[in-house]
Amino acid sequence: MSTEQSRSYLTVRDLVVHFPTSDGVVKATDGLSYEVSRGKTLGIVGESGSGKSVSSSAILGLHRGTNAQVSGEILLDGVDLLTISDEEMRRKRGKDVAMIFQDPLSAMHPYYSVGNQIAEAYRVHNNVSRRAARARAIEMLDRVGIPQPSRRVDDYPHQFSGGMRQRAMIAMSLINDPGLLIADEPTTALDVTVQAQILDLLQDLQREFNSAIIIITHDLGVVAEMADDVLVMYGGRAVEYGPTAEILVRPEMPYTWGLLSSVPDVTGDVDAKLIPIPGNPPSLLHPPSGCAFHPRCTHRDKVPGNLCFTEMPELLPVADGRNHTKRCHLANPDEVYAVEVLPAIAPDLAEEQR
């Protein structure tokens, strides 16, 4: 989305990930498109089961060898990752595209030392000696802020604290200087203070390595802090996509409003209400008719002709031609947001705008 970069490093076009089961096809991701440039960060936001992790695993080719049906295009630096061989994909994993997982305790092998696991990531892609790989691992541990790295390199994951484990995971993922880093809820399992440190570290390293980052989260605070662009996912599809500043200030899709309403603001007005989104995420096996969000949408009656129940809205640019797309039938979303949503969740902000 960022216009100043001529070519994006990762381009995903019409990505589909379906899992055939005995009960039917689970449509985990459907028709997803986005792009990220080097040095830029895309935040993918959504509830559990909205397809955000599944679509990112597809970039790493982690669905290969399973019964998942993946189609569309995933262009990484011009190469379509869905058409290359398994061996070519393996060579790219950890080298051109790396991933950080949610819970670093379960994501690191309990039986091998931290240094062993980091060095392994280096030795897989570089023909170097054990000693050289170990030295490189210590260097990376130092870079991500582990104190006394030459001593801690031989520790096992259970001897690290949660924040240190996530730092070690970051060291492991960045050791080959990948062009794209996918962080799947990297701070969810951590204390808030540690969360901020990890996000700072990721931003520092992004500047240093000039990598593209996809950060998957359900925390809009993380998005506001990190992301240049935001992609909101619901029921396996993109429902709103645009630059972060634009999406967070002028959201046009009721689901995004719902997400914003669910975020507590510690410095905000005490009169501000925390309004949860009613209901549960949709079934990916039997998605609702029409707009997937309509069963939970409080604004569906504003659309004439029961359109929300019968017809899935297209992902279209917003009315005044800003760099922003949304999937919603509402004719006057800006007005509804300003009049109904904003006064309830941020009365002071609504006051200012009036």
Binding site: L62, R91, K92, H109, Y111, S113, E120, H125, M169
Partner: protein, 337 residues
């Protein structure tokens, strides 16, 4: 580590002492008179009394147990009655420590009776163990790596058949065809390892295979299940995301995690097998501990039964300690202290 082993050993010895008391009471305060039993079918009351004195059955049960325990530490001399020994010096049998008693049925010390049976059972168990671990793991890995394929289904199906088939059928078939009809192997007869390692091994192949097939089937299925379970772990996904190749992914990351529960089971299964494989020994006519336990039982040879029970308990206790030490070696999160 050393302190841990010492502590576990002390607990083990305490457990053995309790075990000995329980088996002692069970057998020696049973419905029938052990002296009469030891003496034989046609014994005059005087002869029975003599036997009772010679073996100490005339003493209270706790005294008998006490001298049994003392005998394990310092050894004993039979007949137990000092006067009888002095009168008949040529009848005296010395039972060196650790003395497990005297079997009147075998007219020998229990130690000597066990001594001839232990190497046979241990040999069968060890060779079978090697076969079944190699085979079980190999088929388990192949099945797990080709999960859902024709090969996987074949391995799972075959293992079910071998698991369900009684050992005596498999043993008899092997004996009937491999040894007798096709004469690939000679009829197995136990040859001590010290006499000829080559013959020792070739004679053990058929009984060991008979025993191993059953366990191999179980271990193939278990290791398949453990590997498939381990391969869904987050850290295996991490390794895959690092670009680790398929073979190291299986052996370094997945198998290492799947191995832990297998080690526990393998250790305990081996310990129990060391105490004898009754049916296999019977089919092939190997007079090991299993067969000895059965014949001692039918002949009501109480001292031998007590000896076998204590020996088996010792195997199990040692195996438990070894498994725990191996556990700490495999999993760095486990600390022995």
């Amino acid at each position: 580590m050393f302190a841990y082993i010492v502590r576990r050993a002390v607990i083990g010895v305490a457990l053995l002492i309790v075990m000995s008391l329980v088996t002692f009471i069970l057998f020696f305060s049973g419905a029938f008179d052990p002296a009469r039993n030891a003496c034989g079918k046609v014994c005059s009351p005087a002869q029975i009394e003599q036997t009772s004195k010679a073996l100490g059955y005339d003493k209270p049960i706790l005294t008998q147990w006490g001298s049994f325990l003392a005998g394990i530490v310092v050894g004993r001399d039979y007949p137990l009655d000092k006067k009888v020994r002095e009168e008949n010096p040529d009848l005296v049998t010395h039972c060196a420590a650790p003395c497990l008693g005297y079997s009147m049925v075998n007219t020998d010390t229990v130690n000597n009776v066990l001594k001839s049976a232990i190497p046979i059972s241990v040999s069968i168990a060890l060779v079978a163990f090697v076969f079944w671990i190699i085979g079980g793991l190999l088929f388990g890995i192949i099945a797990a790596m080709t999960k859902g394929s024709f090969l996987d289904r074949g391995i799972v199906g075959l293992s079910l058949i071998f698991y369900a088939f009684p050992t005596f059928v498999v043993g008899s078939l092997l004996l009937r065809f491999v040894a007798i009809k096709w004469q690939i192997f000679a009829l197995p007869v136990y040859v001590p390892l010290t006499q000829s390692p080559g013959l020792w091994f070739t004679n053990l192949i058929l009984p060991a295979v008979t025993l191993a097939l059953f366990y191999m089937a179980a271990y193939a299925r278990m290791s398949r299940a453990f590997i498939i379970e381990a391969s869904t772990e987050d850290y295996v996904r991490t390794a895959k995301a690092k670009g680790v190749k398929k073979v190291p992914l299986m052996f370094k990351h997945t198998l290492r995690a799947a191995l832990t529960p297998l080690v526990t089971m393998a250790g305990l299964d081996l310990a129990i097998l060391l105490g004898g494989a009754i049916i296999t020994e019977d089919v092939f006519g190997f007079h090991g501990l299993g067969l000895l336990a059965v014949t001692s039982n039918s002949r009501q040879d109480l001292p031998t039964i007590v000896g076998i029970v204590l020996l088996l308990s010792t195997f199990v206790i040692i195996a438990n300690i070894v498994v725990d030490i191996l556990y700490a070696y495999i999993d760095p999160r486990v600390r022995l202290d």
